[in-house]
Assembly symmetry: C2
Homo-oligomer: 156 residues x 2
């Protein structure tokens, strides 16, 4: 543990503010409705994971990427299957496992959803200079990594 300069204590309320606004606003659900689907945050998270991966993922892999636990993913995937947005296919390499892939409808929906989310994010940053945007991206990425690593060690 090092010394605690004054600038740190100003970051703390900001982090809590960000965490609140991201975790509790109805923005995600609203954007989902805009995309013509009507899903909650966790199922959208799975859709995004599959979209960003660009290939079918195993249940355990999705859970790892979302930093949640297996059974949680199982239930959400059932919901996505019920809606025709994803499907489970056999894993050719391992008969125990299944791979989850987007259906065409799911791929289309996640595209529309992303457009809305990125649009709102772009609006939030519309008053920013290009340089400040780049700097934010760089520092935010580094910060997220450093904080994740530090808190993981804290958790042992």
């Amino acid at each position: 543990m090092t010394d605690t300069p004054d600038d740190l204590i100003t970051v703390l309320p900001r982090l809590s503010q960000l965490s609140t606004v991201l975790g509790r606003s109805r923005f995600i659900e609203r954007a989902s409705a805009n995309a013509g689907i009507d899903l909650d945050r966790p199922t959208l998270g799975i859709l995004l994971s599959l979209h960003m991966a660009g290939e079918p993922l195993r249940i355990g892999e999705i859970a790892k990427r979302m930093q949640v636990v297996g059974p949680h993913v199982t239930r959400q995937v059932h919901e996505l299957e019920r809606r025709g947005l994803a499907r489970r296919i056999p894993d050719p390499d391992d008969q125990r496992a299944r791979r989850v892939e987007l259906t065409p409808a799911g791929a289309e929906a996640v595209g529309r959803y992303l457009q809305t989310v990125l649009g709102a994010l772009g609006d939030a940053l519309s008053g920013w200079s290009a340089e400040d945007r780049r700097t934010l991206g760089r520092l935010l990425g580094r910060f997220a990594d450093d904080l994740t690593e530090r808190l993981d060690r804290f958790d042992e």
Copy 2:
């Protein structure tokens, strides 16, 4: 809605990563145990609100600052009273209202807790230059404000 430059899509996973690590890690609870208390996140949030305010706050004011709803605060304050960390006092200006204040034990506990949290945050940023730290603080604050405002408007 404006265009969506490429740098935005790199920010998105970072935000989700930050949100996850802040919201789900056991760090808060661990830091609380370090401080000799053993509280969950919402009650610690109330303790922090009272500490930062530096004066007794009404239930409704705490709820507004934490961006939660009244009944939630009521229950957490009961828990804090039960543990002797806070107490409710009459509001001299309004017989309907109560003000919540830290007890000496509560003030001491929140001090120890803050020390642990800021220590970990300082460790996470220990490899950073002073300038990058200042810049992070500045951009993070602006970002939190802009995003909060944009999402509030999105929610109507």
